[in-house]
Amino acid sequence: MATRRLGAKKLRVLPGFKLTLGFTLFYLGLIVLIPLSAVFIKTSTLTWAQFSHTVFSPQALAAYRLSFGAAFFAAVVNAIFGLIVAWVLVRYNFLGKKLVDALVDLPFALPTAVAGITLATLYSPNGWIGGLLAPLGIKVAYTQLGIFVALTFIGLPFIVRTVQPVLEDFDPELEDAASSLGANRWQVFWRVIFPTLTPALLTGFALAFARALGEYGSVVFISSNIPMKTQIVPLLIMNELDGFQYAKATALAVVMLVISFLILLAVNVLQWWSNRYNTNNLA
């Protein structure tokens, strides 16, 4: 590797480095970096009092609480069921397995607005599912429970898709070793397989959580968007935008961006951890 790198540098037989890197940086700057910097520059023109008045208002605090709470519970549910789906897809054979495998990506492929109106209709008191729950006194659409349902839907693929490859690569000889040393099936799973899956599971969890925090399209229809009750942060930002309160919307956006970047950082650390974990296993 080292010698080839050295050789490539000396020779530079391949053309186009300046052209492609130049275009990449130009396009990245134009489409992503300059517009994104506008959020921070616009916010820096606010005084601290103006900023804190917006981002710590009771309405904003209630929105953070709901956003974090609903995203967290949706990610927990997805972690549990996503692990089971991934396990079943890797380990067992059953009719329609390939179809289920392909279908898992539906929440990524289906436009969020479609998911939104569909879930709102299904879970409304006279919808297919809402109609079954209404006699039990459970209201889903237009409540916080509805937001949780929408966020569970959009987060579904993340854990399946992060756990699946790790489970496929798992060396079955480790299981044989454990069971020949007397571990029962549950012990093999809990003490041998599960620890290997943990970094992937946490990565999937963080990705699903991050996606749910920013989600707008699938929630806007199933939420009644009542401040303090069923308003998540993206809906609050949208409300401020509709009222042309750009400074307020931007201040809230900065808070959300900082939180997303922190989650991104956490995902990077988790990936590094899982890489190290896998190398240790091989050694």
């Binding site: 517009p35 959020v39 436009p111 998911a115 879930l119 044989d176 707008y216 399209g217």
Partner: protein, 298 residues
């Protein structure tokens, strides 16, 4: 795993049948509840007022203009992001330079940003009170609440798709084939078209399929910059919203069924490309940072 290996340890690598069927049952119930039922209900609700109403909604001039605008936005965003993806992958995979990891993280950035904020940033730059807003309005160019804003927002949300498929692929393929072609006398373009493109064609197609699905379906970001002018700045997802909010539920679901059909076609094409090129499996949509996918090779 060979058959002999399997028979050596008949019971230990799997669970008792009862547990197996229970887990399969739970998984299928979860998938049915969250994926199959919503999928079926889109078409059922769309056809609720009959086939006549369904096709009448799809032929409505406002629906047609929404379809046209969506095709324009995707038709601009996908090729641009494709060129960007190839250029970025060429620079990153074929050359050594400092700051690669930072560049990779920045390319992935649009994935971790809320759609609402993705729209907001363009309002801040091009809106009436934005940085360049007054310059553009002096020259009679409308960006926000007009088609250019919709195109920009679409480019932003689909920015990483092609790049993040091609970078790991080209990184894994290395540089030797291109270097050999050059040494044998091929020009730069010949090398690119005859060696690189055949090598990356499946990855490129994969990225385009995913990029296009998101471009045609984007809602939040486009909603912020659109202004919702029927017949002018309405894309298909925004048209669905307008129909739904005006209580024309069957109409909203009829138009939504178009997007659902697009999603199903995307899944079929995606599965087909994965079948053709196994290395791509599992890379779709999942925003695991590309930095880490290729970190060992850097």
């Amino acid at each position: 795993m060979s058959a002999a290996e399997k028979t050596n340890v008949p019971h230990r690598r799997t669970e008792p049948p009862f547990v197996r069927w229970l887990l399969i049952g739970i998984a299928l119930a979860f998938i049915a509840l969250f994926l199959v039922v919503p999928l079926v209900s889109v078409f059922a609700e769309g056809l609720r007022q009959g086939l006549g109403f369904y096709f009448q909604t799809l032929r409505d001039p406002l629906t047609v203009s929404a379809i046209k605008l969506t095709l324009i936005a995707a038709g601009i965003a996908v090729p641009l992001n494709c060129i960007f993806g190839v250029a970025a992958a060429w620079a990153i995979a074929k050359f050594d330079f400092r700051g690669k990891n930072i560049l990779l993280t920045l390319i992935d950035l649009p994935f971790s940003i809320s759609p609402v904020i993705s729209g907001l940033i363009y309002v801040l730059v091009f809106g009436a009170q934005g940085w360049f807003g007054s310059w553009f309005s002096d020259h009679n160019i409308k960006i926000i609440f007009a088609v250019p804003g919709i195109v920009l927002a679409t480019i932003f949300v689909t920015f990483p798709f092609v790049a993040r498929e091609l970078i790991p692929l080209m990184q894994a393929q290395g540089r030797t084939e291109e270097e050999a072609a050059r040494v044998l006398g091929a020009s730069g373009w010949q090398t690119f078209w005859r060696v690189t493109i055949p090598n990356i064609k499946w990855g490129l197609l994969y990225g385009v399929i995913l990029c296009n699905a998101r471009a045609m379906g984007e809602f939040g970001a486009v909603s912020v910059v659109s202004g919702h002018i029927q017949g002018q700045t309405n894309t298909i997802p925004l048209h669905v919203q307008i129909l739904y909010e005006s209580d024309n539920f069957a109409g909203a679901f009829a138009v939504a069924s178009l997007l659902t059909f697009l999603a199903l076609v995307t899944l079929v094409l995606k599965t087909w490309v994965e079948y053709k090129h196994d290395a791509l499996r599992g890379t779709a949509f999942t925003p695991v940072p590309i930095v880490k996918n290729i970190s060992e090779k850097l």
